[in-house]
């Protein structure tokens, strides 16, 4: 710690305050942070008080203005936890309901989807594809379903047309919460890329899948081209081919 002689007066005051409060061990930077905070707080209050006093058409700022300024700031920034009687009250209400029974064999127990963080929070504008260099590759028709269900175990989707996939939560890419992308490769070999603005082949089929799992949102299956080696580019597989106008906004 810097010797008291070379330390500015404000910092000395701050050191004394810390000492009075019984804090003996602290990083030297704590003093700087405390001084910064003090300066910011005091100037905010005084500025607010100035505004209040001009509003009240007073020539000087007086103690009442300051008091009002402090009060308004306290409710805003330095909130304190709710008072005890309030807590006891809500506790009493909450504790009256019996504990809910647990349904057996329901897989991972998570709240309803809208309270989970399992849905992707973005969607891509268009699906970019480029002809891959290796034209001679054989494309195997493949049905890949990127489903986002919030159940890490293997649920069935409930529709015979789509294969069951062990979907784990955390397939983070490009799928909206309630949409599936089924990419059925067509005869062309295409690598899907995100940047090129060319749309995909016109064989787009929109199939509505049983929405029971996903609430009332539509589930879209789009057919698209996927090449064999795009699996390494994990983002491409889940890319959804989407013409924005066709689909509901999320």
């Amino acid at each position: 710690m810097a010797s008291p002689k070379t330390v500015p007066k404000d910092a000395q005051v701050m050191m004394q305050i810390l000492k009075d409060m019984g804090i003996t061990e602290y990083d030297p930077r704590v003093i700087n942070q405390m001084l910064e905070f003090t300066y910011r707080y005091v100037t905010t209050i005084i500025e607010d008080a100035k505004i209040y006093s001009t509003h009240a058409k007073k020539s000087n700022v007086d103690a009442d203005d300051i008091r009002l300024a402090i009060q308004c700031r306290v409710d805003q920034s330095f909130t304190s936890p709710p008072p005890r009687d309030f807590l006891l009250d809500i506790a009493r209400q909450k504790n009256q309901t019996p504990l809910p029974l647990i349904k057996p064999y329901t897989g991972p127990r998570l709240p309803p989807d809208r309270y989970c963080l399992t849905a992707p929070n973005y969607r891509l504008k268009f699906l970019q594809k480029k002809v891959s260099s290796s034209v001679g590759r054989i494309t195997v028709p493949r049905l890949s379903v990127g489903a986002v269900s919030s159940r890490p175990s293997t649920p069935t989707l409930g529709t015979p047309s789509v294969q069951t996939v062990g979907t784990k939560v955390g397939t983070p890419v490009s799928l909206t919460g309630q949409r599936f992308t089924v990419q059925i490769p067509s005869s062309q070999t295409l690598t899907v890329r995100s940047k090129a603005p060319t749309p995909t082949t016109p064989t787009v089929q929109n199939v509505l899948i049983n929405p029971s799992l996903m609430g009332s949102k539509n589930i879209l299956i789009t057919t698209n081209m996927v090449s064999q080696n795009s699996s390494s580019d994990s983002t491409s597989l889940k890319r959804k081919h989407e013409d924005e106008d066709d689909y509901d906004a999320l």
Binding site: A91, N95, G170
Partner: protein, 739 residues
């Protein structure tokens, strides 16, 4: 009837005028507030009062007397007319109202009232025996004078001090308990009524006399000099409104009462009646050491009836599982090697289970998740490992393996191990959670959906195939919180990880995909600790908002709210049978809550600093708690008594763990040491002793040195977490502190 009811309203109007007449500006506030209390319930201090009508009448009479004295005859007439009182009624009512055995007439009443209410006169009030159980006009109006006489507070306090110093030794220790709560309440009253200079003078004069373990509180009080400072401070507001509990023997109490009534120190008496709860017991007065061991909390000690509720501390029955006997362990070894806590049966033999333990809760007392196949496999693994468990004891101390976090510039704030010690999670101040694999097996996450689609689903090793080998790594980082992570907890089935943070949320992470699944919002303030139930599904969290909450993973709102602590809840732990939750708090108490109905079943006082670690013994009977004062306290849950005190650490104890069979208690603290204590011996001594179960006052033997089995220093690494593996190897974790 109507007349009487109107009376108090008129009274209030009159009363508000009165303080002005008495010409003391400071009492204006008191007059107003007091009239407020009058209209609600005149006798806050006299619990066993007479009928409310009686009190109103008495108040009316008193006011009439007062008006007469001041020759305000017109007001007297008006009041009399409105209140419907006749001349004769006053006399009779007065004698009725003054209760039995006093014999003071109207004049006496008026005199005492006058002297009490007048602020300018420094004369002590006349003798008016203020019995706790008799409504008294003086008591009614004393509400007004409570805030009066600021300079006299010092006089009263020193008077009490002199008295207590002059009594017999055996009573002195008990009565000295009064000093601290009285001091704080008087100081707060002075501050609350804007007597800043008097408050400061009062503080300077008497703060040095208080016990050393209250010094932290006094530091905080020292900074509070204005009423505005009190407003945001919930802890102190709670302190003001809750009652500080003291245990005093009947003899000492009689002494005190006699003195206070002799000296007419109604000020102190009022404070005692309003703010203190004196739990009187018959028996020997306690010694200083006994009192010191139990006191220290912000709310005094615990009332005796609080700790009388029945607690089911036994363990739940283990389910029947067939263990395949395909390894080399003989059955004899199995039987011997079984840990003590399995009271029920040997699964391999399939013998009948014992009868229901009377101290154990019913299986279905709280709903618990069913046992899945994976859980059954886990249990089988557990039993196999437990056969290889080392039996620990004073002659056979565990080996300690210390996991040091080097270069943890992010600031390690929380650590947890899985039960089988395969994974280690660390919460950091940079709001990340990192998970490491302790075994050579790397951490793998599940493949993405596209890749999952192509694997063969019918193969035998499908569970291996769904894991992504390409991104396997020693450790994984979980991002999501927006504030330092103060608590981490693995689920027993190793599928989930919980983390609680300063941003007010508790997050559930999947250990299959290493992503965040849910954010539980409820505390709007930092959440200091979280803990999964030993059976999974439930978890508890405690934070700065002074409550602990019980959640289930599939409900986005808490199921139970455990409210009652006066200050932040810093540590939360489940009991091994998942029916109870223990919480330790900054108000220096440990509370035990029932999950079924969120009742507080035990309040355990005795710590002198905030409690930062809790550990239940594996048999469920005992609880160990560690705090910033460097002591570990051992509690018997069934009786709610302190049964041991382990002194030795010099700094906050952040880690406490019992060995798998409960023979050894390991404690780790900020003073860079791990200490091992002989818990078997500590608990044995208790069971042979004769509890004074009625009074709850036990004399603790000072045997910390005998119980200390070993002390191990680390090289400047504070110990953040301790964990006994299933084979009783002790693992410790902490971040290297290079300073």
């Amino acid at each position: 009837m109507a007349a009487v009811q109107d009376g108090p309203m008129e009274l209030d109007a009159e009363k508000e005028a009165k303080p002005e007449i008495l010409s003391d500006g400071t009492s204006n506030l008191s007059g107003n507030t007091a009239s407020g209390t009058l209209s609600s319930s005149p006798l806050t201090a006299a619990p066993a009062g007479g009928a409310p009508k009686m009190e109103d009448q008495q108040t009316l009479i008193a006011v009439l007397q007062f008006l007469k004295r001041n020759k305000l005859s017109e007001s007297v007439e008006i009041l009399r007319r409105e209140a419907g009182l006749g001349e004769h009624q006053e006399g009779s009512q007065a004698t009725d109202g003054s209760g039995g055995g006093k014999g003071d007439g109207d004049g006496g009443d008026a005199n005492s009232l006058l002297s009490r209410v007048s602020i300018t006169s420094a004369a002590a009030p006349q003798s008016m025996p203020v019995k706790k159980d008799q409504p008294d006009v003086s008591v009614v109006l004393s509400a007004y004078s409570q805030q009066g006489d600021p300079p006299l507070y010092q006089v009263y306090y020193s008077g009490l001090k002199n008295f207590i110093e002059s009594v017999l030794d055996c009573h002195r220790a008990e009565l000295s308990q009064l000093f601290y709560p009285l001091f704080v309440h008087m100081y707060l009253e002075l501050v609350y009524n804007n007597h800043e200079t008097e408050a400061k003078a009062f503080f300077d004069k008497f703060s040095g006399d208080q016990e050393c373990y209250y010094q932290d509180d006094l530091h905080i009080l020292c900074g509070l000099t204005k009423k505005e400072h009190l407003k945001g401070n919930e802890v102190l507001l709670d302190f003001r409104t809750s009652r500080f509990v003291l245990h005093i023997s009947r003899d000492s109490y009689q002494l005190l009462k006699r003195h206070l009534q002799e000296r007419h120190n109604n000020q102190i008496w009022n404070i005692i009646q309003e703010h203190l709860y004196i739990d009187i017991f018959d028996g020997m007065p306690r010694s200083k050491s006994q009192i010191d061991s139990m006191s220290g909390s912000l709310a005094g000690e615990a009332k005796r009836e609080v700790n009388k509720a029945k607690v089911f501390y036994g363990l739940l029955k283990e389910p029947e599982i067939e263990v395949p006997l395909d390894d080399e362990d003989d059955e004899a070894e199995n039987e011997e090697g079984k840990p003590k806590k399995k009271k029920t049966k040997k699964d391999s033999l399939g013998s009948k289970s014992k009868k229901q333990d009377p101290n154990a809760p019913q299986q279905n007392r709280i709903p618990l998740p069913e046992l899945k196949d994976s859980d059954k496999l886990d249990k089988i693994m557990y039993m196999k490992e437990s056969t290889k468990r080392i039996r620990l004891g004073p002659e056979n101390l565990p080996s300690i393996c210390f996991y040091t976090f080097l270069n943890a510039f992010q600031g390690l704030t929380a650590v947890d191990f899985t039960d089988d010690s395969s994974l280690l999670a660390g919460g950091f101040a940079d709001s990340t959670v990192r998970v490491w694999s302790v075994t050579p097996k790397k951490l793998r996450k599940v493949k993405s959906a596209g890749e999952l689609n192509v694997i063969e689903k019918e193969s035998d090793d499908v569970l291996e195939r769904i894991m992504d080998e390409k991104t396997a790594s020693e450790s994984k980082i979980l991002h999501g919180h927006s504030g330092p992570v103060y608590g981490v907890s693995f689920s027993p089935d190793r599928n989930y990880l919980l983390s609680s943070s300063e941003d007010g949320t508790v997050r559930l992470w999947s250990l299959q995909t290493f992503t965040c699944l849910v954010g539980y919002k409820g505390h709007n303030y930092p959440v200091w600790d979280t803990h999964f139930s030993p059976f999974g599904y439930y978890f508890v969290s405690g934070g700065h908002d002074r409550v602990a909450r019980l959640w289930a993973t599939d409900h986005y709102q808490p199921l139970r709210i455990f409210a009652g602590h006066l200050a932040d809840v810093t540590c939360t732990r489940f009991h091994p049978n998942s029916n109870y939750v223990a919480t330790g708090s900054t108000d220096r108490t440990v509370r035990l809550w029932d999950v079924l109905n969120a009742n507080c079943v035990r309040i355990l006082t005795g710590h002198k600093g905030p409690i930062h670690s809790l550990a239940f013994s594996p048999n469920g009977k005992f609880l160990a708690s560690g705090s910033t004062d460097g002591r570990v306290l051992l509690w018997d849950i069934g009786h709610g008594l302190m049964i041991g005190e382990l002194k030795g650490h010099t700094d906050t104890i952040y880690a406490l763990k019992f060995s798998r069979d409960g023979e050894i208690l390991a404690s780790g603290s900020m003073d860079n040491t791990v200490r091992l204590w002989d818990s078997m011996k500590a608990f044995d001594e208790v069971e042979t002793d004769d509890f004074t179960a009625t009074t709850g006052h036990i004399h603790l033997p000072d045997n910390s040195q005998e119980l200390l089995l070993g002390m191990y220093h680390s090289k400047s690494t504070p110990v953040t977490h301790l964990h006994f593996t299933r084979r009783n190897l002790l693992l410790a974790a902490g971040a290297y502190n290079s300073q």
